[in-house]
Symmetry: C2
Subunit: 270 residues, 2 copies
């Protein structure tokens, strides 16, 4: 079946969006639509122009014999800042304050559409960095980690506190949680991360950074390299920071449990 340009543009956009950071040869499209490569090239120019005009991302031309294009998702910085500003406002709701000065955040983490947008901000931030895998800590880091990984087209490695019989051999390390000064264990299935990977660590919350520091040590145990660290929310703390290079979307600068006064601002990503 042959398709007109208008139809091709719809299907191409759908296909590229579903396959970010993946090289698609021109022949894939020319066979899919029974169209000449020259027509496909023109189609892709239109897609590229619109993706760039609407700040959806870019279409990079892949070098090599097969040629082709790679869709690199990006974000409109102004729109991303607006999203984060609204998120900060939502986080400042006094109803969120829990005993111990913790914040209830499960509604944020439980919102797939929002998590998709937040993941896109990280995917855009790290779009030019070589990332082979995303690592996160169960449970609450998982949704954001999957969103980032999906948009970077890499697998996810889930680190856990408990051992599970269904994971086969595991690598465990001990670490000291920064705020509680308690020795804890974290582990990752041996098969869950290839050696010599460039690992992007994504988590939902960071205070002094003990958990992140532990994941950094775990990355080393897999002869791998930390490509970046991104957190949804960083919180002010009195302890010494255990992590220096990181990117945060939001920053919790104050939680007053008594007065239920919360201050949240945009993190260091912008």
């Amino acid at each position: 079946m042959k398709y007109r340009r208008s139809g091709r543009l719809v299907d191409m956009t759908h296909y590229l969006m579903g396959n970010p950071h993946r090289q698609v040869p021109l022949t894939y499209f020319s066979e899919r639509y029974q169209s000449a490569k020259s027509s496909i090239s023109e189609d892709l120019t239109i897609v590229k122009e619109m993706f760039e005009a609407k700040k959806i991302g870019t279409l990079e031309t892949a070098a090599g014999a097969t040629g082709g294009v790679i869709f690199i998702p990006a974000v409109d910085t102004d729109q991303a800042k607006e999203t984060l500003s609204k998120l900060c406002e939502r986080l400042e709701d006094p109803e969120r304050v829990l005993p111990g000065g913790y914040l209830y955040m499960m509604d944020i983490i439980g919102d797939p559409a929002l998590i998709h947008v937040l993941g896109r901000i990280f995917a855009s931030h790290y779009r030019d960095v070589q990332v082979d895998a995303v690592m996160t800590m169960a449970t609450k880091g998982i949704p954001l980690a999957y969103s980032v990984a999906g948009q970077l087209n890499v697998p996810v490695s889930i680190v856990r506190h408990e051992h599970r019989i269904t994971e086969g051999s595991i690598v465990s390390i001990n670490y000291v949680s920064g705020s509680k000064k308690r020795i804890q264990t974290m582990s990752l299935a041996r098969r869950s991360l290839k050696p010599q990977s460039n690992v992007l660590i994504i988590d939902d919350f960071m205070k002094a950074g003990g958990t992140i520091r532990g994941m950094m040590d775990l990355v080393k145990e897999f002869q791998s390299n930390v490509a970046g660290i991104g957190v949804l929310t960083e919180a002010v703390h009195e302890e010494e920071s255990l992590v220096e290079d990181y990117v945060s979307l939001t920053k919790l600068s104050q939680v007053d449990e008594k007065g239920k006064n919360i201050k949240v601002e945009i993190g260091n990503i912008f």
Copy 2:
């Protein structure tokens, strides 16, 4: 700025894909592109025809004063079966057999692109069912649950074995795990699920169904209703089934720990 039809089609497709199961008024597009509603209607007809031709989904016309369209993601059944067949083959790899007859599945669960496709199969299956929330059990159900929820445009409620100080007040129930016959506890943050919700339960693995049964009881504790149950893999078992109405993507019919002989077939979804 005005946009030509070709550009509008690219951006519309991107927008609709990012906003499944959500009503988008025609005025949204006519303002976004500074175009007449009649042109937007024609654009949407092209999008709809292509979505249906390529089995991406449908565009439903929304009734009411504002009008508009709703993108309902679907799957091509043949392609979905092919995806599941390949998954079954991957699962039959003898290297997966772990002590106790468990299967290593973290590579499947850790693949966001695959999980997205599997989530789409469930989202398509339940597209005409009223679903207000997806519920899952930490940790391994989470990725699939988010994929389904994102494509149905509903929030996720994560049930956990442990209590967490960062979740506020929780509702806990005891349940008997079907295979181990052990009493366990599961809990969900009170704020994490609105009463009178229609809940789609999604999990990675089901044997006799004790965990799913527990989640069904938990749904009741929230004065809510089970809208459906979907599992990535169901396994044969000798115990009595605790769950009757469910949909599975794959079925593990045999794990022979000694011979490392695994048999996996497509589940009851097709």
